[in-house]
């Protein structure tokens, strides 16, 4: 599974769709390089840097989402992206999650990302880069039973009352075209509940297995199966 497909929940699909649309709009008729599709399993920085150099055409837009947090040596990839952007006029769109509010969902990541790490990352990017916060939206809609409707929505967001779920950074010739926008669609509560149930089931089974393993007698005695002296 590529890094971009590992989503903490079905609602993250909407976040991916927003990013895909942004990249598509930036690229126009230029080529798009999806870094996630170039990462191996497990992701490896040197191979990825080589693949980037090989696949990036002049003026391309490079989308790097769901990648850095899986790499043990992400700075090498960042440096390569900066160099490719400078040498080939490529525009780079980077997205990293905000793990400060992700609980255990990000426990398996190779590096930790949040406001502080983004602050560190920004110092390694060209000074004219742009930063956007991705915030999650919640809402509700009223519609007649069984009817499809298209509703105009307007969202007012005060960044002080919410925390970003991810950070999107861009640099290169087209980076300044990036603008605030939102992607809204009906939430699939059935899929979300199903996702939670699957996680709960997995956790319950693992707990049960761990519990029964604790009750099993030890396969070997604590002395490493050495013969013991017995006293009559």
């Amino acid at each position: 599974m590529s890094a971009s497909e590992q989503t903490p929940s079905p609602s993250a699909a909407r976040e991916r769709a927003l990013l895909a649309r942004l990249v598509q709009e930036l690229a126009g008729d230029q080529a798009i390089v999806d870094v996630a599709s170039l990462t191996g399993d497990p992701p490896e920085a040197d191979a990825l840097v080589a693949a980037l150099h090989e696949h990036t055409a002049d003026g391309a837009v490079i989308a790097c989402a769901g990648v850095l947090e899986h790499l043990a040596d992400f700075v090498a990839v960042v440096e390569a992206l900066v160099a490719i952007s400078a040498n080939r006029g490529a525009t780079v769109v980077l997205a990293v999650p905000n793990q400060a509010y992700g609980g255990q969902a990000y426990a398996d990541r190779a590096s930790a990302w949040g406001e502080g790490a983004v602050g560190e990352l920004r110092r390694l990017l060209p000074p004219d880069h742009v930063l956007f916060h991705e915030v999650a939206l919640r809402g509700a809609a009223l519609l007649p039973e069984g009817e499809s409707v298209e509703l105009p929505t307007s969202v007012e967001i005060d960044p002080r009352v919410t925390a970003p779920v991810a950070f999107v950074l861009a640099f290169g010739p087209r980076a300044t075209r990036l603008a605030a926008q939102a992607e809204v669609a009906a939430a699939d509560v059935r899929a979300e509940r199903e996702h939670e149930r699957a996680l709960t089931a997995e956790l319950d089974v693992l707990r049960a297995v761990a519990g029964s393993a604790e009750q099993q007698p030890a396969l070997a005695p604590p002395n490493g199966a050495q013969p013991t002296e017995t006293t009559a």
């Binding site: 700075v75 960042v78 400060a100 930790a112 560190e120 110092r123 390694l124």
Partner: protein, 411 residues
């Protein structure tokens, strides 16, 4: 790449520990040729401790004969030796705005301020310092590399067990002799609590320590032992007045302890009032003790804050991740042109001028004070007493008269 870090000594605590941790990462994971340069003569040149293994340690004399890609000062006093090294680029690793370690009027304060005017690139470990440096020196490159946490030592528990009964376990740590650490103030605030509690004080030195009411006073101890203590702690109390990156609460967070803290610089990086800690007011021992009483009574709040602390810890980088940013910063410093020297010199001279003016005010204040003292000394009675004090037989008379004086003054 050849990098020299200038250090004053290799006593592995605080700032030097951070430098060594970075040096190890650069050496072991990024293929850097790292040298630790001792910027001053050592009384006890003993550095055979485990974290230094594999790192080259040389004297300033020896370092002068070598050539480096980047030379980095790590404490304001080491900056005086920085340009004695031959290097392609010069940088300062700023761990705090160090002039704040000294009280107004102390000459070191000016020295610590002036080194921020040098024509160097900056690397710093806290966003508040990076923002300040950017304001002070907009033309100088400034990189941010937060300190990592050794998660093999400060290994977070998989599950946090609520502490529902028994006294509140409190820990106070730091150098009591450093006025800005607020160690004695923290102990005093704990002493004003009404609810049952147990206080542990951890300090490497006992100088200046007033640990009344503490169940135990420990130290010096290893990082691993400290982690073990944090694991038994509900709340760390920190009333510091000056901090850089503010590491101790973060280490406590990793072990599932929350914190009661002042709004000291560095806290804004990860402390959230009511989420993972409680923020108290300055100079408010009564209010601080009330917050601690609240935690002792409300165990749900205590557990919520401890869970918040643990969640904050999980999102904090390891030393491996911090080492990546340090490697990236040093490579960028080497690759990019150095900062413009003329702008730095202009700022340096302006600060020297300000320092001269400041010194002039201090001298004027001192002269005025001396003049006032002389006037009081000429008052009848005081003049005679002082006259007696200057003679040996007079001092004997004054000593004999002490009980009478005490009786008269009622003390």
């Amino acid at each position: 790449m050849k990098v020299a870090f200038l250090v004053n000594d290799l006593q592995l605590s605080g700032g030097v520990g951070v430098v060594v941790a970075h040096a190890r990462q650069l050496h072991e994971r990024h293929g850097f040729d790292v040298t630790l340069v001792l910027a001053r003569e050592q009384d006890d040149p003993h550095w055979d401790h485990e974290p230094l293994h594999g790192l080259s340690v040389v004297s300033l004399d020896e370092a002068r004969r070598r050539h480096y890609d980047v030379a980095v000062s790590t404490w304001w006093e080491t900056a005086f030796a920085l340009f004695e090294l031959r290097a392609e680029r010069y940088a300062s690793f700023v761990q705090s705005l160090e002039d704040r370690f000294y009280r107004p009027g102390e000459p070191e304060r000016l020295g610590a301020r002036l080194v921020l005017d040098l024509p160097v690139s900056f690397v710093t470990e806290a966003r508040w310092i990076a923002d300040t440096l950017q304001d002070l020196r907009p033309e100088a490159p400034c990189f941010l590399v937060r300190n990592g946490i050794d998660k093999s030592i400060f290994a977070s528990p998989a599950k946090l067990v609520p502490h529902t009964e028994g006294p509140l376990e409190i820990l106070v740590e730091g150098y009591a002799a450093a006025w800005f650490k607020g160690v004695n103030e923290a102990i005093a605030a704990v002493g004003q609590m009404d609810e049952p509690h147990r206080l542990t004080v951890v300090t490497p030195y006992r100088d200046g320590l007033e640990a009344d009411g503490a169940e135990r006073v420990l130290g010096p101890i290893t990082q691993r032992e400290l982690a073990g203590l944090y694991a038994q702690t509900d709340v760390l109390v920190k009333l510091s007045r000056v901090e850089g990156m503010y590491g101790p609460p973060l280490e406590a967070f990793h072990m599932g302890a929350t914190c009661v803290t002042t709004e000291v610089t560095g806290h804004e990086e990860y402390v959230e009032h009511g989420v993972n800690a409680l923020v108290c007011d300055w100079d408010d021992p009564r209010g601080t003790s009330r917050l601690l009483d609240l935690l002792a009574r409300d165990r749900v709040l205590l557990h919520r804050l401890r869970l918040g602390a643990l969640e904050t810890a999980r999102a904090w980088p390891t030393w491996e991740q911090a080492g990546q940013f340090m490697a990236g910063a040093l490579r960028a410093i080497r690759r990019d042109p150095p900062p413009e020297a003329n702008a730095a010199l202009g700022r340096l001279l302006a600060d020297v001028r300000a320092g001269i003016e400041e010194q002039r005010h201090i001298a004027a204040d001192r002269n005025l004070l001396a003049w006032k003292v002389r006037r009081y000394e000429r008052l009848p009675g005081l003049r005679h007493a002082l006259g007696l004090k200057r003679r040996p037989w007079g001092r004997v008379v004054l000593r004999l008269g002490r009980p009478v004086k005490r009786k008269l003054l009622g003390s």
